[in-house]
């Protein structure tokens, strides 16, 4: 989508990272090299920790980004866990800036789940949905346990782009979505098409995974 937007508009896209809990956008930003996002280290102290143990990790290793604000006055944050998974890049950037960079955020630590021994990130499911539909539909992942076995099903809202008056065409969409996800994850998933706005919209960080495995 980034490449398409750049090609269509002739405008260069820059990733800007931020959290509303910190200051909103502007914690880190890409430069013209588009090779990671420079953290404004005079205002924010970035650390990477192991999301499981909470132990700090050295630069270059992937883990959860933790931020401390250095100049914020009214509501400072100390070692705030962002749940965003990235790595700190210490190497000098081609643009000449010497402040450290973080790798582009691809996924979040709290979203990851393990099903039948496979680590799954919702971003992988998103990639599959995007691939089939062209744009990302609203979706939700539901984990359940049936007869002692973990089951994963994905609910996908029907969009005008894929909706058809023919049952066969809709079944085909369903099959293609399921196959795309199964191809990426390597496990069987159930896929259910649901009506528009059937999946609750959340404020802030979207709740993509409903885990019902410990119920009943």
């Amino acid at each position: 989508m980034r490449a398409r937007m750049e090609a269509d508009t002739g405008i260069q896209a820059f990733d800007i990272y931020g959290l509303s809990e910190i200051i909103g956008p502007g914690v880190a930003s890409e430069c013209t090299e588009h090779d990671g996002l420079h953290v404004f280290e005079d205002h924010f102290l970035p650390e990477i920790i192991d999301p499981e143990s909470g132990e700090p990790l050295p630069d270059g290793e992937e883990g959860e980004l933790v931020l401390t604000t250095l100049s914020k006055k009214a509501m400072p944050m100390i070692r705030y866990r962002t749940r965003d998974i990235t790595a700190i890049l210490r190497e000098p950037c081609g643009c000449g800036r010497t402040i450290r960079r973080i790798r582009r955020i691809g996924r979040r630590s709290d979203d990851m789940f393990i099903i039948r021994g496979v680590n799954v990130y919702p971003s992988q499911v998103e990639a599959a949905l995007l691939n089939v539909e062209g744009t990302l539909p609203h979706y939700q992942i539901i984990l359940s346990r049936e007869q002692g076995l973990d089951q994963m099903s994905v609910e996908v809202e029907v969009t005008p782009e894929v909706f058809s008056d023919k049952v066969r065409a809709l079944e085909e969409v369903r099959t293609r979505l399921a196959q795309a996800i199964e191809h990426i994850l390597g496990i069987r998933v159930g896929l259910r098409l649901v009506g528009p706005h059937a999946i609750p919209r959340s404020e802030g960080k979207a709740k993509r995974v409903i885990d019902k495995r410990n119920e009943s």
Binding site: T159, P160, F163, S164, D165, K166, V194, G195, P196
Partner: protein
């Protein structure tokens, strides 16, 4: 002639059929025909109505996903075998029917049916050539 048919995606749960119809009722739009395709997971509500543009706008405004497709209304003699003759003609011409349903309309000893063809233009060419009764919208609405 070809008629626009609206299709609406419905979830398979109690009340899901009434909701879009209530939208149309509130907008004061009457249905000419209604048909429901159902699967284990979802349903597709198919509607033929005169004010289809207004109906589509009203449904979309209420958040429904709506598709417009061309269907063909055909009338056949309202007697045993009335439909078979027409179907055989289409079969011989290699016309594919995606789905069809009966229209709640009988007049002058004829019954009206709605057909969704793979290729509606080819189907109408065959029907008109064989002088089989393609119904115009002014006759329906």
């Amino acid at each position: 002639m070809k008629l626009p048919q609206l299709s609406v995606f419905l979830e398979n749960r109690p009340g899901s059929l009434a909701e879009p119809l209530k939208t149309l009722a509130t907008a004061g739009i009457n249905l000419v025909s209604i048909s429901l395709a159902d699967t284990e997971q979802f349903g597709i509500l198919r509607l033929v109505l005169k004010e289809w543009q207004q109906a589509k706008a009203a449904l979309e405004k209420d958040g429904w996903v709506v598709n417009v497709s061309d269907v063909v209304a055909i009338d056949v003699p309202d007697e045993p075998g009335g439909l078979v003759t027409m179907l055989e003609t289409l079969a011989q011409a290699g016309i594919n029917i995606e789905y069809m349903y009966a229209f709640c309309l009988r007049r002058n000893g004829r019954a009206v049916l709605i057909f969704r063809f793979e290729d509606p233009d080819a189907a109408m060419a065959v029907l008109n050539r064989e002088n089989l009764g393609v119904v115009t919208d002014s006759e329906l609405f």
